[in-house]
Symmetry: D2
Subunit: 421 residues, 4 copies
């Protein structure tokens, strides 16, 4: 079994490698290719990756290359975890929207649109190269914004599934609070990537008892704290929104924070510098502690679990993935991509039947789905007008003068990544 990781030079990668090593029984990899244009960085990460495999007695080969075609050739699955423009582009995404009072963030709002515009063409090009050599290979997308990128892949006819670590994070946290094994916890997970609510927490599977009311009664405070959301909001809703809902439910507070605090991109950039220095140490053969602060907790578990299901029918039977709606949510277009519990296996991901969604969530989901449609059109076909319309449709923008200004700023700050600009 051969896997390719595009963006393998990421400082994230040792987390993934550690997962592959720990979970080798679930997903027995014989060859792992790390693909990245940044050759220097790739060598540092690749060296540590090999030492981790060696230390943990994993017999698989780790190959590094900057040649995408060579890297993905004959791979059974290709994992996408790239970042077009790097942390520098992210810093931009987090900054210029603030100039007109809008949230600056790399997966939602104007910053998220910028990232989508930079990323979709690059991902589609890679997917096309994969299809050329391995028409049967799965493409697992962890590249943000996962919803839009997965929708782009599926509309272009690729065998793709979108992956996010939000759900697995909740699963692990709730398992700890309930003192059960994570695999015992089944979430009723509603919404779109980075726009989700856990509306039920069940033990044993989709038919298990819903323990969410008990969890909220006993641990509502700590859950709210971990999401930086106010406890009374969680109590009133009676469900657990993802951390990313904070950009909606507390938009203006976040804008004030972002305007008066160092940016996340700057923090991550500093952390990456430090991590790369560590990775260069030939004595290091485990993932460093610091990596835990880099974000992406449980990403490797989620990736291994999904790859195992898609490639061998192993892994967990139900997993939260991003896949095509096809009537699962009747109020959304069939070709929308939703984030949903699905039965996963060699044939792909089939969403579980779900109860109706409370209008309190459905309204916002429908609104953001419409944005994602317009965002994808802008990413595929370019043009100032399409960018403007996507921004005007976004619930965190919505106003004419901001949509105009943000369109100008988005284009000015991303010109080198936009073929049409």
């Amino acid at each position: 079994m051969k896997l390719a990781v595009v963006g393998g030079g990421s400082t994230y990668t040792p987390e993934l490698i550690d997962g592959f090593a720990r979970l080798r029984d679930t997903l027995p990899i014989s060859e792992l290719v790390l693909v990245d244009p940044a050759a220097d960085r790739l060598e540092l990460v690749g060296g540590l990756a090999r030492r981790i495999f060696a230390k943990q007695g994993h017999s698989g080969t780790i190959v590094t290359t900057s040649d995408v075609d060579a890297g993905v050739a004959d791979a059974d699955a290709v994992l996408l975890q790239l970042r077009v423009g790097g942390q520098a582009a992210r810093l931009q995404d987090e900054t210029w929207p603030l100039e007109c009072g809008c949230v600056g963030q790399e997966t939602t709002g104007a910053g998220g649109l910028a990232k989508a515009l930079r990323t979709v063409p690059v991902v589609l090009d890679i997917a096309e190269r994969v299809r050329r050599t391995n028409p049967d290979a799965w493409i697992i997308d962890f590249t943000n914004p996962v919803g839009i990128v997965t929708r782009a892949l599926l509309q272009a006819g690729h065998k793709a599934v979108g992956l996010c670590n939000v759900a697995i994070g909740f699963q692990r946290r709730f398992a700890a609070l309930l003192d059960v094994a994570p695999s015992e916890v089944h979430l009723d997970h509603v919404g779109l990537n980075h726009l989700t609510w856990e509306t039920g927490v069940r033990i044993g599977g989709p038919e298990g008892e819903n323990l969410l009311p008990r969890l909220l009664a006993e641990h509502g405070g700590s859950i709210a704290d971990s999401l930086s959301l106010p406890r009374p909001l969680i109590d009133r809703l009676g469900v657990v929104p993802s951390y990313y809902l904070r950009y909606f439910y507390a938009h203006d507070e976040v804008v004030r924070e972002l305007g008066t605090k160092p940016s996340r991109a700057a923090e991550v950039a500093a952390m990456e510098k430090e991590l790369l220095a560590m990775y260069g140490d030939p004595a290091l053969d485990t993932k460093p502690e610091l990596l835990a602060k880099r974000g992406g907790a449980f990403y490797s578990e989620a990736a291994v679990d999904l790859a195992a299901a898609l490639l061998s029918g192993g892994g967990s039977p139900y997993q939260v993935v991003n896949t095509v709606n096809n009537g699962t949510r009747p109020f959304l277009p069939d070709d929308a991509v939703i984030e949903v519990q699905a039965a996963v296996g060699r044939q792909g991901a089939a969403p579980l039947a779900v109860p109706a969604v409370d209008p309190l969530y459905a309204g916002l989901i429908a609104n953001v789905t419409a944005y994602e449609d317009l965002a994808l059109q802008a990413a595929l076909h370019g043009g100032r007008d399409r960018v403007f319309k996507a921004l005007l449709s976004h619930p965190l923008v919505g106003q004419y003068e901001y949509a105009e200004a943000l369109t100008d700023k988005l284009i000015a700050h991303n010109r080198e990544h936009l073929a049409w600009a």
Copy 2:
């Protein structure tokens, strides 16, 4: 043919009376009952109404009463144009939301919710009285927020249609610009009450040529000016949003304006005082010029046209009304109320088939529909939590801390009108 007008003491009413007089061939009324709890005011308005009928040679009787049951007895149709709490409540609706930076307006946002909460129980009570004496009578609702009030009436099983003057206003304006008779102009009218876009302007009927592109090219500037929207927005969209979209597309600008200008309610209150003084003049037997500034242009034309269709099958064959969705817009719940071109007649209003809606509008329509659902639940069942959820779901609120604060303010300012508070 007998009509009752609940809220007949409104300063609006002479506009309506003038229409009934001018259009008596379309809608031959034998008795018109003006119902209003404010007896003094009703006498002033009723007196002028009788003088207008007399002057124009209308043979119908005009009755005034403060007793709803007596007033609506045996009426073939009941027109609702009431304002619970009067201009004083409206002034509140326009003011307290500004305290936390949200738009203050009586049909949308937090102010609109306040009005819905005050109005729905009163309207349902009146409708119940109508049904008791005339189960076949039509209820025509012109009381705002028309979408929510009509939804409340329909869900309670009443024979109701919602009426608004936005569409007829565009029809008249476009007819003038195109130099054709108003009846020649057919609008492709998309959305919800006070959340609509004219996406097509056709001559002769639903199959006529779409002249909107030409209209925008030739008159885009004056159309934009009349809506206080920027010309480039209209050009980019290629459709004509209603004036009320300004609260969305220019929310922050409007908040600044409202915070730094006299309120509309204060203006209207001053105008009403002046109008009532005029109405008391026994020499006055026409509607005064000043009434044109009161708002509600062409309301009487729209009301006569709709009543004629419902009661006698006369009037225009297609009219823009508020009625139940029932699959017309597949992305909205069947029981949502939409504002739409419909074939109207004795059997009621049947929406015309419509093309798919651009996601740029569909997202916002879906979001506001979800709000209207939650708003209606709050109006019917009360409770702080339901008010909070309706506010949180509204695209002009959306944030936790504002939803909390606005909930408190809404309740504090409307306690006397809310049975449960």
Copy 3:
């Protein structure tokens, strides 16, 4: 010795009475007149006042009257603690400025100006009545805004001193932290009423060692917390701003809080209702615990101390008072009123010599002094233009469109209290 308290029907008064009783050796009163137009309320407060005197064995007489002339006749000193318009006017002061994003507070900003405009003419009228019968009586002003009111009194030639409890509060708090007697603590107190900084805390008097650096090092956190100011701000400044500086240093945060929290006026109104109910209980003969939450801590101590000094040369030799600048601060006009440590005695209050003020404070002090000058002109002479200029000059307003809007709102909400409006 006879004292009159104008506004004696305040729920505050039992605090004052308790002080007069406890500190009767310092200030031996034979007759105390409580003057208040609200006769009902005055009876409740007066009854409790008599029971407190009785319980504590104070032999003085307590008289209640609604007739100002009768009340102040032959008084040696008149204490002013009135509130024109009551808590209802305060609620207004705290609310309408928020509509355009400005702080709503009853002693500073637009709300403070409203209070000044309501209060100055009333106070000057009372002072004139005092002067007519007792040209030698001292007027002690505790009515806010103390700086402007005192300036008005002094410019009209009255024997007046302005009193505030901010300094005595700091003295008591610092004494507790330093574990010394309050009378041992001498403050270097810089600024204007409600715009002050403690720049030194000395033991034993003006020449004592400055312990402020030690206090901040050891208790900076709790001091900052008690002022709702961030610890790092206190640390950077190295001085202790009064709580009222929060309206400047954290203006936007305060506006958000005020827009999303119940108003202080509403809290106080509820508390007053409860207090008055208690006062009516004939068994109550001490000030209730609840009164401590009403604000005005140590007000009675400060009032007794000041009255003792002015009337008998007793009390503390140095006290913080509001009095005329006369060159004490060379960068301010001679006729400005400053809040300053002064040697107090029968002859009045003579400011102590003070070191130069850091520009970080002097700039703001000069700006607010200019505002107070314009505010007083508006209070004395009225007119929309003078109100506008005062608002434009206030550092918390400063912008044209807000000054215009606030002028309109101020006049609309205070018309009944403004003779010229």
Copy 4:
């Protein structure tokens, strides 16, 4: 007579050259040295300068050099018009303050402080070099922020006068409106550099009749428009504020504009590129039309007039300059720098006696003077704390959280220009 222009490579310079040529009788220059580190740019500008002199028959020599010491040697006067960090730094000054809702501008607010911090050390170094070779030479500072830079020069004992084109601009505009020669117009000019009000417009000199009321009555609308200030503000004040007061009187409006419009720096950068391309054309021997849009109108007239007065006792007897206060404004420190009408001659600039300033202006002037003092301390001695205090004291900042955030941003964006950072 020899003049050196430091920053002579500016695209401005042809404007200055044109003035030297036109006004050679007033200021007969024999040698003009253009000093600039940017040699390429200097050649383009120098070439055009020589062609302008030649075309207009000016016999003076024009020398270009990148060596400051060589350039200023033996000069009778040195004109400073440099921009440390160029348009790129300006773009920064105009952008990052917006991230926390504060105005971004290169002469006031946080951006102005950044410019002061970058500029003061460079200017002091140049002035020191001038003094070393020509202790009698005058330094004329046109480099912004002129108030702070001039204060720095004077405090270091240099023979310096600060120059701005705001007053001469008003003089020319009012002369045109009054249809008199500019030299006939005498302004009562009150305030600090970029914080001034014209409180009187007199014909013939300081004792002439004040025509400002007539000017405002007849031309108030066009004057207001040219300043982008609302007409009613001008009418209410009865004086004419400078354009820069807009950052105070309309701060939030400006922030919205800046956040939603292209930056001035970007416009100027584009214009400079175009201008330099023109300057390279050997056929060009006049200043191009486009230069008029570059800003700085009448700068050359003002510079020639001031240099003539200082060097030969010629030019206008009264000129508006930036010079030391020394008691002219008693409410400001003696060592503050004010912008004022002064009698100018070989001995320097002596402020004319002036009437008292209305508190409406005095409060703001005092506040900004305090800021300028703290800004200069930060520029001279560096350190995060001094930057923070200067920002906290600025009326356009004033709040703790913004002062903290702006301090961080200022340092992060200007690190390469700040020796201590």
